[in-house]
């Protein structure tokens, strides 16, 4: 065989090995959504990734879901729930629902799902979400009872974080199979998953709820933000998330797409070491912390530095969380008062302090806002020396070990639980890993909020806690974050407040 013929053969072999053309779905019946990175599995309880939660919403159903308009948790596969006593919840299930394989959804599926997640041997990530549940009992085909370990006010809230999987699949197919084969009751079914490339979903025409407008959903993996924006503007993708604030104009002026923003469940703050975990520092004095809060003009920073992408808060409690007190007004900038407080605390000429800063991974524009805050603090005499740590892992580790220093960047995502407890316990309670604050009075309130199911009592408790945190100026309070989405003018859709995109509510835009 001559050398050139061999080369030709090799070339032919390569051409034949090229991938197939995509399936025969048309642009009009498909909505395209982009992820920055792919999921590790199609088994949501076995993943730590937000992408897995989002994909789970398209193919599976949850017992309860959040209404995107009101923000309240309402029925879904569960039609109703009530607490029989302090430690027992009874949940009624929707009848006539079937999994994608035709198998009926009953109380057995709920029990099998939770038993699988709660069994420590299975090592599923979602176990932490439900650790307070002791057992699940089947009453009849459409009724289940949950026994909890003590009063568990977050029970209903947590139902939105658990997909319902089939008892038949769990028993007969098993864990390994479930990693790539999602059998849910949801609005879409998985057709094909090309790892790190795309997911193709097709409408579940037997869905029990409202039918999605688009027959197909393509979820494409596009790591580079600039490429995502180019795809959005050129019509290759319909919905992208996490648009950087400085790119909003590019999208809005393209005529092809628009941006949509929504407050998200994450509050940003500058934590101060009131508890002196990293050693003695000026912030152990309440007057110094109050002065720091009064020195910074947060509203101006939100408006001019963040392009309005923040919602001012009076404490760490997010406006979307249960227990938020809207009547509590944030600190007003007052330089004279701040200086007076500093002088009273023994710092008439101010002081210098290290300010540990992190990358803008969860908090957009954090470097710019830090610069503005540092400039404001300097006017009052607090000279904050920025000290950047460029890697998230070690940063979090340092914070956890109490070595972050007197002042550092921190933001809290509530583990996606819309409840004041989800930040108070982890970030303000004495002795918790991420808390640099210690106050017995507050700890008692946090404990009280956890020990009752009565929403009215809980609200009162959290209002008190917020007053206390405001008066004591635990940290420098900043704002609730806003997320930015890019949406093609081809479709109707708006940024979701729980950061979970639902492709089944996307509709074609009328021309």
């Amino acid at each position: 065989m001559s050398r050139s013929r061999l080369a030709m053969l090799l070339l032919l072999a390569l051409v034949l090995a090229l991938p197939d053309a995509p399936a025969a779905q048309t642009k009009d019946d498909t909505v395209v959504y982009a992820f920055q990175s792919d999921v590790d599995s199609w088994d949501p309880p076995n993943s730590v990734l937000r992408e897995a939660i989002i994909l789970g919403y398209q193919v599976f159903d949850h017992l309860a879901v959040r209404d995107l308009k009101t923000g309240r948790v309402g029925p879904n596969l569960a039609t109703s729930w009530r607490a029989l006593d302090e430690t027992t919840w009874e949940v009624k299930l929707r009848k006539g629902v079937r999994f994608h394989d035709g198998y009926p959804f009953t109380a057995a599926a709920v029990k099998a799902t939770f038993d699988r997640v709660l069994d420590p041997k299975n090592k599923l990530t979602a176990r932490g979400n439900h650790a307070k549940i002791k057992s699940v009992e089947i009453v009849d085909d459409s009724t289940v009872r949950f026994k909890t370990d003590g009063p568990y006010p977050l029970f209903v809230e947590r139902l939105t974080a658990q997909v319902m999987q089939s008892d038949k699949v769990i028993k007969e197919k098993g864990h390994q199979w479930m990693q790539e084969n999602p059998i849910g009751t949801g609005p879409y079914k998985l057709v094909r998953w090309n790892r790190k490339q795309e997911h193709l979903l097709v409408r579940n025409d037997d869905y029990w709820g409202a039918k999605p407008a688009f027959k197909y959903v393509r979820v494409r993996i596009i790591p580079e933000t600039a490429t995502q924006i180019a795809e959005l503007i050129s019509g290759g993708v319909d919905v992208i998330k996490a648009v950087p604030p400085d790119q909003m104009d590019v999208i809005d002026k393209s005529g092809q797409a628009r941006t949509s923003t929504s407050p998200i469940l994450r509050t940003a703050m500058l934590q101060l070491d009131q508890a002196a975990r990293s050693g003695p520092n000026p912030f152990t004095d309440r007057r110094v912390r109050q002065a720091a809060n009064m020195a910074v003009d947060m509203d101006a920073i939100i408006k001019y530095v963040l392009n309005g992408l923040g919602d001012r808060v009076a404490t760490g409690v997010n406006p979307m969380a249960f227990g938020f007190d809207p009547s509590l007004k944030p600190y007003k900038p007052d330089l004279a008062a701040a200086k007076k407080l500093l002088a009273a605390a023994g710092y008439p000429n101010g002081f210098e302090v290290r300010f540990r800063t992190g990358l803008a991974i969860v908090e957009p524009g954090v470097q710019q806002t830090n610069d503005a805050i540092v400039a404001d603090l300097a006017k009052a005499g607090i000279v904050a020396k920025q000290n950047l740590m460029g890697d998230v892992g070690p940063y979090v580790a340092q914070v956890k070990e109490g070595k972050a220093g007197p002042m550092f960047n921190w933001s809290w995502g509530y583990y996606s639980v819309f409840d004041a407890d989800a930040i108070l316990y982890d970030v303000f309670k004495c002795g918790e890993s991420y808390s640099y604050y210690c106050n017995k009075e507050l700890d008692d309130l946090i404990q009280a909020g956890r020990s009752t199911l009565d929403p009215k009592k809980r609200t009162e408790i959290y209002v008190k806690a917020q007053r206390l945190l405001f008066d004591d100026a635990a940290y420098i309070y900043k704002w609730g974050l806003r997320g930015v989405w890019g949406i093609s003018n081809r479709v109707e859709y708006a940024a979701p407040r729980d950061e979970i995109d639902r492709m089944f509510i996307v509709t074609p835009r009328r021309k």
Binding site: A21, P22, S37, D40, P223, T227, E231, G236, P394
Partner: protein
């Protein structure tokens, strides 16, 4: 020739062992993977349990020995995220990267060979200066920037090509050109230098004196000899090409091994990174070995000297 090949093989083994040590060591410098694997609210026992589970509590030399003895069998353990064999994951993503690299190489040669020869034959002419200017511009242009510019022009403005993705020939055009443009300048300069050097050789004069046509002189006598440094450098540049593929794949959402590696580094998914590094390094080493053998085959002087 046999002795020459054997010598190259011994070198290869040493290099591979070095690579395996590096692949093993690098990630231990980065940070504690357990911190990233577990949710923020995990307790201390949970951390210790995971550390034991992953064997991170053992001394380093024990960990390396385990790693190396399994790695030779292609077993790098399971990905810490996907729970699938890491080596399989890497192999699966190999074809798109190979297609992209070959396409990039093809584009680079298509640009570099004709322009390099042309520039050499018309030395110091307008064409030559233009080629030099193009080469400087191409060399100076960040691959990342070129990719995004191409997307803006051909996908966003002209809507002629898909901005990103994989599957049809249209998807190949921009990534292949981006990668080709990255490799073309240096290749073109080498071809030019090689041809110029060869054209002054005595045997070219001889060929001309024999009455061989100028076209034949350039193609048969000059080009073949000018090829030797070009092939050698292309072999050396192969690693660069794979490096360029990392950026190109990221920009164009190309589902290759490079994007997988970058993502695994970000996730600190040790087994996948190690499998990818070892495999890619192995490919580079083998390509270089092939180049050495090929050069020896083309130019008898080299293997004799060795």
């Amino acid at each position: 020739m046999r002795g020459y090949a054997a010598g190259q093989l011994v070198q290869l083994v040493v290099v591979v062992i070095g690579i395996s040590m590096l692949a093993f060591a690098i990630l231990y410098v980065v940070g504690d993977p357990v911190l990233l694997l577990l949710p923020q609210n995990a307790g201390k026992e949970e951390f210790e349990r995971y550390r034991r589970l992953l064997g991170l509590d053992q001394p380093l030399y024990v960990q390396y020995w385990k790693f190396a003895s399994r790695a030779v069998r292609g077993d790098f353990g399971n990905s810490w995220y996907g729970d699938v064999p890491a080596f399989g994951l890497v192999l699966q993503r190999m074809p798109p990267t190979i297609y992209l690299t070959l396409a990039g190489l093809g584009v680079a040669l298509l640009i570099a060979l004709p322009l390099g020869i042309l520039a050499a034959l018309q030395r110091h002419s307008f064409v030559d200066n233009l080629c030099t200017a193009l080469a400087v511009a191409g060399q100076a242009m960040p691959i990342f920037w070129l990719g995004i510019m191409l997307i803006i022009v051909f996908a966003v403005r002209l809507k002629a090509l898909p901005a990103s993705g994989y599957g049809t020939w249209q998807h190949f055009v921009m990534p292949a050109f981006t990668l080709g443009a990255f490799l073309a300048p240096i290749t073109m300069r080498l071809v030019r230098a090689g041809v110029i050097e060869v054209m002054n050789m005595e045997y070219i004069k001889t060929a001309r004196a024999k009455g061989v046509g100028e076209r034949m002189v350039v193609i048969k006598h000059a080009f073949r000899n000018a090829c030797i440094p070009v092939i050698t450098v292309l072999g050396l540049q192969f690693g660069q090409l794979l490096g360029g593929a990392i950026v190109t794949e990221t920009v164009f959402a190309w589902p290759g091994v490079a994007t997988l590696t970058v993502e695994s580094i970000r996730n600190q998914d040790f087994p996948v990174v190690q499998a990818a590094v070892v495999l890619l390094a192995l490919i580079i080493v083998v390509v270089n070995l092939c180049v050495d053998l090929l050069v020896g085959f083309i130019d008898p002087r080299i293997r004799v000297r060795a």
